[in-house]
């Protein structure tokens, strides 16, 4: 080291640009560097504590809050959707049951109506058949009577033409009735 000292002194004039040994071990620069380092660190520290860290932590907290509230809302909406689905299903089932019930009821009603109508129609038909029979019987009786009357009239006319004024009406009628019967 000591031998280098003279050499270093000799070099000093020409080699101002170059490092003599390690600049890190040049203790004359230490106070300067330490002073400026302390200034720098204090400035950064105040930047950090006054501006940066509160800002970033508030931003992060706000984001976390937003995310949790969004998640909560999503959960809520999901629950609502599930509820709506449940309600929908229930409504569907109800509607189906109602429809079934209505179908059953209507069926029963129609059956009843049908039965009643059938019964009524049958009764009417029976009545009408009876009336028709009676009428037919009446018409038949009437026809027989008319035949008897016409026969009597015709016989009287014939008798009055063949034997004028000799036959009595009652006798002729009795004779016609006797002949018609037998």
């Amino acid at each position: 080291m000591a031998s280098e000292a003279t050499e270093a002194a000799g070099h000093a004039a020409e080699a101002v640009e170059h490092a003599q040994g390690m600049p890190q071990l040049d203790f004359t620069t230490y106070p300067n560097q330490i002073f400026w380092l302390v200034v720098t660190l204090v400035v950064i520290y105040f930047l950090m504590t006054r501006v940066i860290l509160p800002r970033i932590s508030s931003v992060l907290a706000e984001r976390a809050k937003t995310i949790t509230s969004d998640l909560e809302r999503a959960e809520e909406l999901k629950q609502k959707a599930a509820e709506a689905e449940e309600a929908l299903k229930k409504a569907e089932a109800d509607a189906k049951a109602e429809a079934r019930r209505i179908i059953e009821e209507t069926k029963a009603e129609i059956q009843k109506d049908l039965d009643a109508a059938m019964k009524k129609a049958e009764a009417e038909i029976a009545k009408m058949a009876a009336a028709s029979e009676a009428k037919i019987a009446e018409i038949r009786a009437h026809a027989v009577e008319s035949v008897a009357a016409v026969a009597t009239d015709v016989a009287q006319e014939i008798v009055s033409v063949v034997f004028p004024g000799k036959a009595k009406a009652e006798d002729i009628a009795a004779a016609v009735a006797k002949r018609a019967k037998g």
Binding site: A19, G21, T29, L47, M48, T49, I56, L60
Partner: protein, 249 residues
């Protein structure tokens, strides 16, 4: 480079670490603005740009710069909380300050013609000593005499304890040395190696393919180292802090 009379193969890898007064003159008082001062100021400006200007929007959905700032915050915050526990979060701003300063100095020092403030023992040593002293003070304030249990290992046999205590004591006092030398050495080594290769490239002239490839490779490694050393410095700070808060763990 006027002094290359002797052979022309003069590589001066240490020149980049010279601390020179910024505005000429050869006087170097403790207050003289130097190139180190300039680069520390650039570090502050870069930190302000990223963390103050970048988070100006305070967006719920962050911009790219804001998410870098938030990632850094979250990274250091998680590191402090995971390693030293939630009660160490009181000291989170200190760790954040140290980490951002180192990481920015390291990366800014990678610029061509840049000056790496963290490659100086004065800087790293001051920071390491500050960490050492404050951690020791915190340890004694928080735990009183119990802080000495850090050196008195209860799980060891009684015979071995005094020996272990001496070893632990030595390793405790070596901490600031290794803490500072690691960062300074890494920074200086990488930059010096790059400078040496650059000197080769300068000598070889246009055909200097191999040195340039080597510089690229070393530069890539240095980019990694720049971050890792900042991380290691910060996490060692946090580990020392944990030892101070919970000496008998």
């Amino acid at each position: 480079m006027a002094t290359e009379a002797e052979g022309g193969f003069a590589i001066h890898p240490m020149d980049q670490f010279l601390v020179k007064p910024l505005f000429g003159g050869s006087e170097l008082h403790w207050y003289t603005p130097t190139n180190a001062t300039l680069w520390m100021a650039i570090t502050i400006v870069a930190i302000a740009l990223l963390f103050v200007l970048g988070t100006r929007g305070r967006g719920i959905v962050p911009t790219r710069i804001q998410s870098i700032a938030e990632l850094t915050y979250g990274f250091v915050h998680k590191m402090v909380e995971d390693v030293a526990g939630p009660e160490a979060l009181r000291y989170f701003p200190y760790v954040m300050t140290i980490f951002t300063f180192i990481v920015f100095s390291n990366f800014l020092g990678l610029w061509p013609y840049g000056f790496t403030t963290t490659s100086h023992l004065a800087v790293t040593g001051t920071m390491a000593l500050a960490v050492f002293i404050s951690v020791t003070v915190i340890g004694f304030v928080k735990n009183g005499v119990h802080f000495l249990e850090l050196f008195w290992i209860k799980s060891a046999p009684l015979v071995l304890r005094p020996i272990l205590a001496i070893i632990e004591l030595i390793s405790y006092f070596v901490r600031p040395v290794s803490h500072s030398l690691r960062l300074m050495g890494n920074m200086m080594a990488g930059h010096a190696v790059m400078k040496v290769f650059a000197g080769f490239a300068g000598v070889l002239g246009l055909g200097a393919i191999a040195p340039i490839v080597a510089i690229s490779a070393v530069y890539a490694l240095e980019t990694l180292v720049a971050f890792i050393q900042a991380y290691v410095f910060a996490i060692l700070t946090v580990i020392y802090l944990r030892d101070a808060l919970h000496p008998a763990h």
